[in-house]
């Protein structure tokens, strides 16, 4: 009986008005994802007045559609032109763009869409069955735990691309330093802004990433001699991933979904961190480690699944505890309150039709987005074949719009160009921008949680390792810091032993 009512509530999503709301949300969301500088939180806030006319169920379905739709579109510009549409898609540029250069843009786009679908669906299932349980465990993380987690992040992600560990660490440090610009998150003191009002709130993340990736790429192409491009005809089947690419993507998608969902439970830049963590994990596990950064499909499948799953994970604390951990879920919470709905443990009891209707729309929306995105792959993939002398100016315009659109501030455009020049030089000397982004994303969380933890323990350093969870994580930190040296030593001694034996 109970199951039947749940099913009938789930089917509320299929009522024509809700179906339409879901579709509209998904389309808008995809656009938000594709266009850099247009964030889901801002657009959802804009749409709220419209949803008030639709009523709570349809309204919330539409808002949710924008929310996960934006996670689908984010990878498109990363793959095609090296411009991340969302912070969570920064890591997709590494292998996605490399694949596009090799003529496999279609495959990368399709895998990103399929990965998003798999992760989206997995996270809704997890949300439906484990939400209350998982929400509790997320509460075990306080400031001290977050701080250790960010330390762990710096160590584990410092070797993201497997090139030079030293250069990578330098870049993370630069990122951490850049993140201290503006009003400090705890004391409210202005730092390193040199009187520029525009950086009081910190350096614009979008301006920096479009510069480091997009504009730097434009400069690189400009610096190259234009080669006569051979127009190789692409057949329909070649637009999509082949059997081997699909097979190689399956495990990364599954791992990315689980990893992303778990990271998504935590506050902070969860989707971005999930994508980075998944990339790092896949590179470590892969037998084709040398292919990473040169167009490994696993490097697209994992992170793109992970950031979508994180979006699902972030719904857990919202729906089961009423706690918004991300800016986007905060807007969803605001939307709910405006509709007279209070999320939290009683949502399911008081408004089952709404709860299950929205969950149902998640399933539906994911399927819709897959159907919507796959045909687009064919159209988007052709963009790569446009000659650079036409494509690159368009990319530059896209970057300018993205950087400006974030805060409607011309200063950010200059930041973007500055970052573009820096990014070009960095690339010439083998410094990668991705670790810098990690530093930039982790910096504020690291600083805030360290200072909060120390305030709580009244300056006592032991506050950083008082809880068992902290101790376990510190142990992992220690292990991952030492392990590379030990394995290196063991390998060397093993090699010398085998030499002697010969």
């Amino acid at each position: 009986m109970a199951d039947r009512t749940i099913l009938s509530f789930l089917l509320i999503a299929f009522q024509p008005a809700n179906l339409l709301a879901c579709f509209a949300g998904a389309v808008v969301g995809t656009l938000v994802g594709v266009l850099p500088g247009l964030g889901p939180a801002a657009v959802m806030a804009l749409v709220i007045p419209l949803t008030l006319k639709l009523g709570p169920t349809a309204g919330l379905i539409m808002l949710a559609g924008i929310y996960y739709g934006s996670m689908y579109g984010g990878s498109t510009t990363s793959i095609l032109v090296n411009v991340p549409g969302e912070p969570a898609s920064v890591v997709t540029t590494l292998d996605g763009y490399a694949m596009a250069k090799k003529g496999r843009a279609g495959a990368a786009l399709a895998i990103a869409a399929i990965g998003s679908f798999v992760a989206g669906t997995v996270s809704v299932i997890a949300l439906q069955f484990f939400a209350p349980l998982l929400a509790r465990s997320a509460l075990a993380f306080g400031p001290a735990e977050y701080f250790v987690l960010t330390v762990l992040g710096v160590i584990l992600l410092s070797n993201l691309t497997g090139k030079s560990r030293v250069k990578s660490l330098i870049m993370i440090m630069v990122g951490l330093m850049l993140s201290t610009i503006g009003f400090d998150p705890v004391g409210g003191v202005e730092r390193f802004s040199f009187g520029f009002e525009s950086v009081q709130g910190g350096i614009s993340f979008i301006a920096l990433t479009t510069g480091l990736f997009g504009v730097a790429e434009v400069f690189s192409v400009m610096a190259e001699k234009e080669k006569p491009m051979g127009l190789f005809p692409v057949r329909f089947r070649e637009l999509y991933p082949d059997r081997e690419e699909l097979k190689r993507s399956l495990a990364p998608m599954a791992r990315g979904s689980v990893l992303g969902f778990l990271i998504g439970l935590l506050p902070g830049p969860a989707a971005t961190m999930a994508a980075f963590a998944s990339y790092s994990l896949e590179r470590r596990l892969s037998k084709r480690r040398d292919q990473f950064g040169k167009g490994a499909i696993e490097g697209v499948a994992g992170p793109e699944s992970a950031n979508n799953a994180a979006a699902g994970g972030a719904m857990v604390p919202l729906l089961s505890l009423g706690l918004p951990f991300t800016p986007t879920t905060a807007v969803l919470l605001g939307g709910m309150l405006l509709h007279g709905v209070t999320p939290g443990p009683f949502l399911l009891r008081d408004r089952p039709e709404l709860f299950w209707g929205v969950i149902g729309s998640f399933y539906l929306g994911n399927a819709m987005l897959l159907i919507l995105n796959l045909p687009l792959v064919g159209i988007f993939a052709k963009i790569v074949r446009v000659a650079p002398r036409y494509l690159m100016p368009i990319v530059l315009v896209l970057c300018v719009i993205g950087a400006y659109g974030d805060n409607l501030n011309l200063f950010d455009v200059w930041v973007m160009f500055g970052a573009g020049v820096t990014g070009y030089l960095m690339r010439k000397y083998g410094y990668e921008p991705a670790p810098l982004v990690i530093g930039l994303v982790l910096g504020p969380v690291m600083e805030r949680s360290l200072r909060q933890a120390l305030i709580i323990s009244q300056g006592n350093l032991s506050g950083l390792w008082d809880s068992t969870l902290c101790q376990v994580m510190w142990f992992i930190v220690l292990l991952s810091a030492i392990l590379p040296f030990i394995t290196h030593y063991l390998r060397r001694s093993a090699a010398s032993v085998s030499k002697k034996a010969n």
Binding site: A41, A42, M44, A45, L46, I48, P49, L52, A138, L139, A140, F141, G142, P143, A144, G182, F183, P185, V186, G187, G188, E190, E197, Q200, G201, G202, P267, P317, L321, G322, L323, P324, F325, P327, T329, A330, V331, L332, L333, G334, G335, L337, L338, G340, T342, P343, G344, P345, F346, N407, Q452, I455, I456, Q458
Partner: protein, 328 residues
């Protein structure tokens, strides 16, 4: 020849007259246009993040106001630096009535801490819309039965009790600071972002948290946290069983206030029109019901009274800040 000259003269005369009329009409038209504010959408800059207590109220009120305004009143979030970025933007904006600020206690705290180079006197006050109380909450397992017990515990353990707020300098920070001063025993203030103090409270990482009712509604309803006291003059309608601080023996009344303001120099006609529309919206039944549901008390203040009120809060805020060593 002569006749041709005369014809030319008439022609020029006609042209001159027509032009003069055109200019007159144009001029009159433009002055009429000013009367006709708003001709395009009006932006309401909200210094705080989308979805928070300030934001949902701004959006609900904007929706009601838009109906009478004839043009949409659009809420835009300009966040960061405790609101300084938004205030700077509106302060700089053309005073044409198309950029307004969702005005609140942030103007007092930002000015007191010199995070902005101006204060409330740099704005035309349109209308005050209401007060939002601050709630002191503890975990459901906390040993203190009521606020009195909590205060006694703080007295016995000075500098030990941790209280979360939504950021240094915010109203949710001012309240525990002023509370500690009244009690005579210092607290440990832990700044979180909006909503995150509640999570830390539920996870048992801090002893108490300070926030607006809207940010803790569902956790209270679920019995995860208990509200020990509110800072308003009277109890609020959604929580009739929660006493005020005054009732509990701590003589402190300190609410967040909200309203509308425009940059200095905005035409009087625009302010007057907006004031009337805001008054109607604030006194509507729809707003009263919504405000009550999120724990806010609607209260219309006319521009003169509003200006005076904000000035008084400015003085009190500076006193609290200086006493706490937060003001330069």
């Amino acid at each position: 020849m002569l006749r041709k000259d005369a014809a030319l003269k008439t022609y020029w005369r006609w042209l001159f007259l027509t032009l003069l009329t055109a200019i007159l009409v144009w001029g009159a038209g433009s002055s009429l246009a000013k009367e006709a504010w708003p001709e395009k959408q009006v932006e309401l800059i909200n210094p705080f993040g989308a979805g928070g207590a300030a934001d949902i109220q701004a959006r609900k009120l904007a929706e009601i106001i838009s109906r009478d305004l004839g043009q949409p009143l659009v809420v835009r979030n300009v966040t960061g630096a405790g609101g300084a970025i938004a205030y700077n933007e509106v302060h700089r904006a053309k005073p044409d009535g198309y950029t307004l600020i969702w005005y609140s206690g942030a103007i007092n705290t930002l000015a007191a801490r010199k995070q902005i180079s101006f204060d409330y006197r740099a704005f035309e006050h349109i209308a005050g819309v209401g007060f939002e109380t601050v709630a002191i909450a503890v975990n459901k397992t906390a040993p203190w039965k009521d606020f009195k017990e909590f205060v006694a515990y703080i007295r016995q353990n000075p500098n030990k009790v941790t209280v979360g707020n939504s950021g240094i300098g915010s109203v949710t920070h001012m309240v525990p600071v002023a509370m500690a001063a009244k009690i005579g025993a210092p607290l440990v203030h832990v700044p979180f972002g909006t909503g995150l103090a509640v999570a830390a409270l539920m996870g048992g990482k801090i002893d108490a948290s300070s926030q607006h009712p809207a940010e803790i509604l569902s956790q209270v309803k679920a019995g995860e946290v208990r509200v020990l006291a509110v800072t308003s003059e009277k109890r609020i309608s959604i929580w009739p069983n929660v006493p005020t601080m005054k009732e509990s023996g701590v003589d402190l009344v300190f609410d967040q206030w909200r309203g509308f303001a425009a940059p200095k120099g905005t035409p009087k006609t625009v302010i007057d029109k907006m004031t009337a529309i805001v008054k109607k919206a604030v006194e509507s039944k729809e707003w009263a019901e919504f405000a009550a549901s999120v724990g806010t008390t609607p209260q219309y203040l006319d521009p003169v009274a509003f200006y005076k009120f904000v000035g008084e809060v400015d003085k009190i805020t500076k006193e609290i800040m200086i006493a706490a060593g937060l003001s330069k």
